[in-house]
């Protein structure tokens, strides 16, 4: 199943200039998602990062991974449009600089989603070369809060 921008916007709440996925090319709700993000020099962060060596800041690379990751569980019936909170990031690795003109493919896997806590990982590639990878713990407060001890 593919999702375009209007469909992505229905499922998750990130918006321009902080939306870092362009298209979902494959998604299995509750299991995995694959996204595409194309970086044009028109991106707001290239001129300041850096004038003489434009490349995608690490925090934006990670954000694109986690935005793909949250699609794996926000696409489950009933979760669409909910707020999420970024709780933990582990083992972030950056292997390749991403520069204007690069197209990244981001692969995300949901390892568990229980009581509003989602654990999983994502990695990005450019032309088959690994760019960035990390493991995530993200909460969905609307569900998590219903399980809090009183």
């Amino acid at each position: 199943m593919e999702l375009d921008i209007p469909e992505i916007l229905k499922i998750q709440r990130n918006r321009h200039p902080l939306l870092f996925i362009d298209k979902i090319i494959d998604i299995i709700p509750g299991k995995s998602a694959t996204a595409i993000k194309t970086y044009s020099y028109n991106e707001w962060f290239f001129p300041p990062h850096f004038e003489d060596d434009p490349n995608v800041p690490g925090f934006i690379q990670l954000e694109s991974l986690v935005q793909t990751f949250i699609m794996t569980f926000l696409s489950i019936d009933g979760n669409e449009g909910n707020k999420t909170n970024f709780l933990k990031i582990n083992n972030a690795v950056f292997k390749r600089k991403i520069v204007p003109g690069d197209v990244t493919t981001i692969y995300a896997e949901l390892e568990s989603f229980k009581r509003g806590l989602a654990k999983g990982k994502a990695r990005s590639e450019v032309n088959g070369e690994q760019a960035c990878s990390a493991e995530f713990l993200v909460s969905l407060p609307a569900i998590l809060d219903t399980f809090k001890p009183k």
Binding site: S112, R115, G116, L117, L144, F147, K148, P149, K150
Partner: protein
């Protein structure tokens, strides 16, 4: 390792806490917040191969209360 030792180990690892876990209650330490609570429940379920009901997750308000709750799932912590 006894079930009590395993139970204590899950608490210590989940909260990264070196103190006496036997006296812990929900939110009695900064580390046992609502997010860590869900991680604790998941770790205990994995360790003791059970799946707790929502009411038991909500009632799991302390180390000691947890021992009573797990006994409902035939897990004897001793």
């Amino acid at each position: 390792m006894s079930t009590l030792d395993k139970y204590r180990k899950v608490f210590k690892e989940c909260f990264q806490y070196d103190g006496d876990v036997d006296a812990l209650e929900y939110q009695s330490i900064e580390e046992w917040d609502s997010v860590a609570h869900m991680q604790l429940m998941a770790e205990l379920e994995d360790e003791f191969k059970v799946e707790m009901d929502i009411d038991d997750i909500i009632d799991f308000s302390s180390f000691k209360e947890g021992i009573k709750i797990l006994s409902k799932y035939d897990v004897e912590i001793a």
